[in-house]
């Protein structure tokens, strides 16, 4: 169907569970092999937790859908060994421009500072993303069962039993933990009769990908009320393989069938790009958007992640990116609990932390969508007033909202954090995701996040040997990196700047690289007690 992409075909094969005495048991089952379920599977695989993905389809995402992959998401995939081909294949961009009628209102640079391994955003079609995640998972020996559609789900005291439909007919499986990553229309959600509430927006958006060999820059261009789409908005954004995403707001009353006809799409595209620009249509779809979530993401042994748990409009690119961070949050918690190193209550903090993050994403996405599609005459009047003032008044530019692009949540209120006792400058507060920085170690250039990896880590600002190389707290190991003599060399000073790393300071970081606690002096007892708190043994 697509000209620039050949959908891989993955084949159903009968598993021995289908012939075993039912139900065969597995520790963890993941329902849905979309970008979030696959990230979950990779995380568990790398942590040594056995998990199987059950996917109803036999290929990757239908259409390019999520194209903007955010820095934090790519950092997670990089830790999982999956990001390199995505960054290589995708389009790196940092600049966005917002226009109103004929004028540019403002432009923004998402990564104004140097000293990060991963760019602010890489645009890559969701089908490519999923293909690379599948490649990585296969290389690690992970199992995906294609054309396995989960039909029924039955939670019970100590686990979950599910019914799976296959080309050979149905079979049953049981597991200790079920992770529902089955997308916005989640069947798991419906089977468990869980309400999915929030706002629905009526305006429709015609979303089309075209193949075009034009030398437009790799920037995000957003128009309010352009000549070619009067009274509405539009977006142009580059993806891999000379594919471009075009997005036209078409109002609430548009007729989907009509709008999607090639003879109607082509004139729209020409009006945007100019008559002479040659292009080919690649993909066309009409969407309306919702911002909503489940009241709770954890229901006993069932965890909802990604779009199954929460859904947002795409302005801000917070859907897929938010979902990937769910998987990052849940992975290490399940690992520790299943190895008996953390109490069951740690799993409850998945709900606490990711509902907080989802609400931040929903709030931002809702505000953007409200700005783009004002619901009442008075909200339209204010919106238009903002746009009409923005050309001349800098204050009005800050109110123009074409999407507040995905940044990871700082989990500042998490019960897993140990609050600061002393003052620190900068953003690395307890709950914040660790910032990257360049470094040199053993004569080799590298990056801080690569050194943090996926376990508990201490970062000490001082010479190696001054404090222990690692600590063990009830079987949980903290490896300690030293930024100083004999350890990591802070080549450009970014580590000290970003972490306010005055000599003697110590940070404790979680396996998902969020800050658990920090002190101006290393105190073993305090670090150990912060670790206990970070694994859910509130002290």
């Amino acid at each position: 169907m697509l000209k620039t992409y050949k959908y891989p075909e993955f084949h159903y094969s009968r598993s021995e569970d289908q012939d075993a005495a039912p139900p065969a048991h597995h520790p963890v089952l993941i329902v849905g092999g979309g970008m979030v379920g696959l990230t979950m599977a990779l995380e568990l695989r790398l942590k040594g937790v056995p998990a199987i993905v059950l996917e109803q389809g036999e290929t990757v995402s239908d259409g390019s859908r999520s194209i903007c992959q955010a820095k934090r998401t790519l950092e997670i995939w990089d830790r999982q060994g999956a990001a390199a081909p995505m960054i290589e294949k995708g389009i790196t961009w940092n600049i966005g421009r917002v226009r109103h009628q004929g004028n540019e209102l403002y432009s923004f640079d998402l990564l104004p500072e140097q000293g990060h391994k991963i760019p602010a955003f890489v645009n890559l079609q969701q089908y490519w993303v999923e293909e690379y995640l599948i490649q990585r998972l296969s290389a690690l020996g992970g199992e995906i069962r294609w054309r396995n559609k989960v039909m029924g789900v039955e939670p019970h005291g100590d686990g979950v039993t599910i019914e799976v439909d296959t080309p050979d007919g149905p079979y049953r499986l049981s597991c200790d933990y079920l992770i529902a990553a089955d997308g916005a229309r989640s069947q798991m959600r419906r089977e468990m009769d869980l309400a999915f509430t929030g706002q629905v927006f009526n305006d429709k958006f015609l979303i089309t990908d075209i193949e075009m060999k034009a030398d437009f820059p790799s920037e995000r261009w957003f128009w309010f009320d352009p000549e070619f789409n009067p009274g509405q908005s539009a977006l142009l954004h580059r993806q891999a393989d000379n594919v471009w995403r075009l997005d036209f707001q078409i109002g609430a009353d548009a007729d989907n069938e009509e709008e999607m006809k090639h003879e109607n799409v082509i004139p729209r595209v020409k009006a945007m790009l100019g008559e002479e620009t040659p292009f080919e249509l690649e993909w066309i779809s009409v969407y309306t958007f919702q911002c909503r979530r489940l009241e709770k993401f954890r229901h006993g042994s069932v965890f909802f992640i990604g779009d199954a748990a929460h859904q947002v409009s795409p302005f801000g690119a917070r859907g897929g990116n938010g979902g990937v961070q769910d998987a990052d949050n849940l992975g290490w918690k399940l690992d520790l609990v299943m190895r008996g190193l953390a109490p069951e209550s740690l799993l409850g903090t998945y709900d606490e932390e990711r509902i907080f993050a989802a609400d931040e994403n929903i709030l931002n996405s809702t505000r953007s969508t409200d700005f783009l599609t004002p619901k009442t005459p008075v909200s339209r009047a204010f919106r238009d007033a903002v746009l009409s003032l923005a050309q001349d008044c800098p204050f009005a530019r800050s109110l123009v909202n074409s999407g507040r692009l995905s940044v990871p949540a700082t989990l500042s209120h998490s019960s897993l954090n140990t609050p600061d006792e002393e003052a620190f400058e900068g953003q690395m507060t307890p709950g914040a995701p660790a910032a990257d920085a360049p470094l040199r170690h053993d004569g080799r250039e590298g990056w801080l996040l690569d050194h943090l990896g996926g376990g508990f880590k201490g970062v000490f600002f001082g010479p190696r040997g001054a404090i222990p190389h690692h600590l063990d707290v009830g079987g949980v190991r903290i490896d300690i990196l030293c930024v100083g003599d004999g350890g990591i060399e802070d080549v450009q000073g970014w580590i000290a700047r970003r972490y306010d790393g005055r000599p003697g300071s110590f940070y404790l970081l979680r396996p998902d690289q969020h800050v658990a606690g920090r002190w101006r002096r290393f105190d073993e007892e305090k670090v150990k007690s912060a670790l206990s708190r970070a694994v859910g043994k509130a002290s």
Partner: protein, 66 residues
């Protein structure tokens, strides 16, 4: 009303001010007036800046209508 919003007379020559405010809308359609008002609110709100003042003003403005 206790708080940070100044509800005491604060504009010199209030009649002049009031006349100017009404004149601002001379010759405009209802729709244009609404747009001018929206721009005016945004301009003044930014000038005030203080969210506590603005929030009190929001409350006071709405109280008089419902």
């Amino acid at each position: 009303m206790t708080g940070v919003l100044n509800c005491d007379p604060n504009i010199e020559q209030p009649d002049d001010f009031y006349e100017s405010l009404i004149r601002l809308h001379d010759g405009l359609t209802d729709e244009q007036s609404r747009d001018v008002n929206a721009r005016l609110i945004l301009i003044l709100a930014n000038h005030v800046g203080d969210r506590r003042v603005l929030d009190e003003a929001f409350r006071l403005a709405r109280e008089g209508v419902e």
